[in-house]
């Protein structure tokens, strides 16, 4: 009995030991800033080089104590939701979930920043620019206000197409410029078994959440823009396959599949197999993000060269438009969203805007993104761009930093102009600079940003996941059926999409177009 009582007593005492939070120093403001935690070995979010730099160069002169509040990068949406609901959110919040920002703005939980920016944030406003800022403006009843600050996305390029340079050389072929030339290449590669017995001329992996994403370049090449109005474009942008002509791009895929030119597990997400095919040299063509072939972590090119001497990937544009100009979908100019919760005191809100404004100054931004010479890099080129920026694992612990998290006003490295930014990006892939630069050019050629809506599309919320799973079925069935059944299958599965909620979304998006509640533009607008 005594033992149990003692235990219970200890429990009570321990519970009572919850400490009282420390009082702020006289005259100083404490600014709590959300910071992503990625559990990187040796990197302490709460005490790192970037934070010390900020404290020294911004905090101390302005009597502001800056604290970083770690939030797991992978659950940031849910955690931030909790923090906001519990009133414990940091003074500056950041998230990749734009919907949450709109939701909290509607509930009055977010501070409109227009006046603060006009007074304390001129440099920041200039740095982000109107094109970016518009993504943070919402009208929730009191006129269009700046509820959040979207980060400026430096590289908006999205996808690129990759082909084997060594196969082209062996076949004595030129880089394909359209789908027919691509077909000739794929066919020849298969006939000559250039990748050995397991040759897969065209490999593809499936994104379950947006099945047609990897085929958007192909579809754009076939769309008959003479039949597409701006209204159609806005309404059908995320139903790209319903735009006139897009179906023909998929008919080609069907032909490729039926002639054994495509992965035979088409439609099944099997990234381990795809990875293996790409580095073992079985694979001849694929569509992926503009840098996929050279990424450090999944370095297809590097490992391909090791496994197959002389082999290499280059970017190409195998889907130039049949007639008319070629266009390529990019990301939009806005990255993650920064905002200040409504309950933050005026004093702290001013400190917050000053903090972000200071960050947008060229000198601060450069330091926060690149670190310190001698530790994070050793040399700079004639434009002052570090040529040997270390990645976080190779940096000594005291100087470890994460550029996009520490300087969240910017998604990507900023060096003053598009030209320098692109050159610097290519430099980040040592040994592949030219190939990466070429890939960026292709990906940006005729770039247009995807349509997004400034108000919630209720149909998308209600039927979105159903529609995308039906889209997956359409894609797989249309590509893998026999050519004579293609039209029937296409008809059947597109109807299924429309009747399972697709039509509701389309109608609502058409209404949103007429209200002007959208962002983005019709790429052919000027050319018509």
């Amino acid at each position: 009995m005594k033992r149990i009582l003692t235990l219970l007593l200890t429990l009570c005492v321990l519970l009572g030991m919850v400490p009282v939070s420390a009082m702020a120093d006289e005259g100083w403001t404490t600014l709590r800033v959300e910071m992503y935690d990625r559990s990187i070995a040796g990197f302490n979010v709460e005490d790192c080089w970037q934070l010390r730099y900020i404290q020294k160069n911004f905090g101390d002169p302005n009597k502001i104590k800056v604290e970083w509040v770690p939030v797991s990068r992978w659950e940031e949406g849910t955690i931030l939701n909790n923090l906001l609901a519990g009133g414990t959110a940091p003074d500056i919040c950041m998230t990749y979930g734009g919907d949450m920002v709109l939701q909290y703005a509607e509930m009055g939980g977010i501070l409109p920043l227009d006046e603060l920016l006009a007074e304390h944030g001129q440099e920041l406003t200039a740095f982000l620019g109107q094109e970016v800022l518009q993504f943070g403006q919402f009208d929730v009843g009191g006129g269009k206000l700046q509820y959040s600050l979207p980060a400026r996305r430096i590289i908006t390029a999205a996808q690129s197409m990759y082909i084997r340079q060594d196969w082209l050389d062996k076949l004595e072929m030129q880089v394909p410029n359209n789908v027919e030339e691509l077909y000739a290449y794929l066919k020849a590669a298969k006939e000559n078994n250039l990748g050995g017995a397991k040759t897969i001329p065209y490999s593809s992996d499936l994104y379950a959440s947006d099945p047609f994403y990897g085929w958007i370049f192909q579809m754009d090449a076939f769309i008959d823009y003479t039949q597409v109005t701006e209204e159609d474009w806005v309404t059908y942008h995320d139903f790209h396959y319903l735009l006139p002509g897009a179906k023909e791009a998929l008919r080609w895929m069907n032909k490729f599949f039926n002639e054994g030119l495509v992965t035979d597990y088409f439609g099944i997400s099997n990234s381990d197999q795809t990875d293996s095919d790409r580095v073992m040299g079985h694979d001849g063509f694929w569509v992926g993000n503009w840098d996929s072939a050279w990424r450090m972590e999944m370095s297809y090119s590097h490992d391909l060269e090791k496994n197959v001497p002389g082999a290499s990937w280059i970017a190409c544009d195998a889907f130039k438009a049949v007639n008319g100009p070629t266009v390529h979908e990019t990301y939009n100019a806005a990255g993650q969203y920064l905002f200040i919760p409504a309950w933050v005191s005026e004093e702290t809100a001013i400190a917050a805007v000053k903090y972000l404004n200071w960050m947008s100054l060229p000198e601060s931004l450069f330091a926060l993104q690149n670190g310190e010479i001698g530790h994070n890099y050793t040399t700079v080129d004639e434009h002052g761009i570090p040529t040997d920026l270390k990645n976080i694992n190779d940096t000594e612990d005291a100087y470890k930093m994460h550029a996009t998290d520490g300087a969240p006003i910017c998604n990507g490295f900023y060096y003053g102009s598009d030209e320098l930014n692109y050159a610097a990006t290519a430099m980040g892939f040592p040994g592949y600079e030219d190939a990466v630069a070429a890939s960026l050019v292709i990906s940006n050629d005729g770039g247009y940003e995807p349509i997004s809506f400034t108000r919630a599309i209720q149909g998308r919320i209600d039927y979105g996941s159903m529609v995308s799973s039906k889209e997956g079925e359409l894609l797989v069935q249309a590509v893998t059926c026999t050519p004579d059944k293609f039209d029937a299958v296409w008809e059947e599965y597109t109807q299924a999409i429309l009747t399972s909620g697709g039509q509701n979304i389309i109608d609502e998006q058409r209404a949103a177009y007429h209200e002007g509640a959208y962002r983005g533009f019709y790429p052919m607008a000027e050319k018509k």
């Binding site: 909790n82 609901a85 990749y96 976080i392 996009t404 990507g412 990006t425």
Partner: protein, 297 residues
Amino acid sequence: MQSKLTEHKKRLGTGQWVLIMVMLFFVLICTLPFVNVIAVSLSSKSAILRGDVTFWPAEFTAKAYEVIVGDKSMFRSLFLTVEITLIYTILSMVLTILIAFPLTMKRLKGRKFFMLFIVFTMYFSGGMIPIYLNIKELGLLNKKWSLILPGLISTFNVIILKNFFSSLPYELNEAAYIDGANDFQILLMVYLPLSFSSLATLALFYAVGKWNSFSDALYYITSRDLQPLQLKLYNLIKGGQAVEVAVQEGNASDLSSSISESIESATIIFATLPILVVYPFVQRYFVTGVTLGAVKG
């Protein structure tokens, strides 16, 4: 000798061989993924990308383990997790016993009501944000105790233990009572010594559950010093799958922040090892413990 062997073989009939094969099959299903993780943790990045690694390391390297051992915060998390698991398990056991025991007492009025009260929580909960607000109001955010106090009592385990206590002959209770023992003495000197296997099993349930949990820390803990091992593991694994995310973030070339598959696997091994070491010692109580409580309930 020859005849003896054949005799032995005969005793194991075809049926038994089939059974052995089936068992072996299930054993392999359970162990092979683990073997694969070990192999991956000891292989080079290129070999993993080629798809060469199945059950044996290819291009052997222990670099992943060097990275983990070199990370002081990993050990801090390990010790924290051990500490939390120990405190949690002890407190949970005390509380579970103290609930389950009275519920078996026929003298206790309103037993059904209390039982319903307890079982109710198995089906209904306040939801994530209300629970978060509760923790916040209690001043537990970013405290070690936020990982221990909520969920100290598992309703399921209370029911198991209550059923086990009920299965003990009630006459023992009466006999002790006649001998002059009070309720605490009956519990400590009669019931607990007889329930060792059940208690060991429940302690294992609690300990493994706590060891493997990370979602509480995900929401209640921001300080890096208070991150349990499983939360670190969760972040590492998510980071490893974040190639597409890095593009979205515009930080593509700095993919260093994503973790290679071998480090991921090595961390899994690191986090599982302590449980693997403890498990065999407690395991023998496992089957008897749970079934005794369940069947005779």
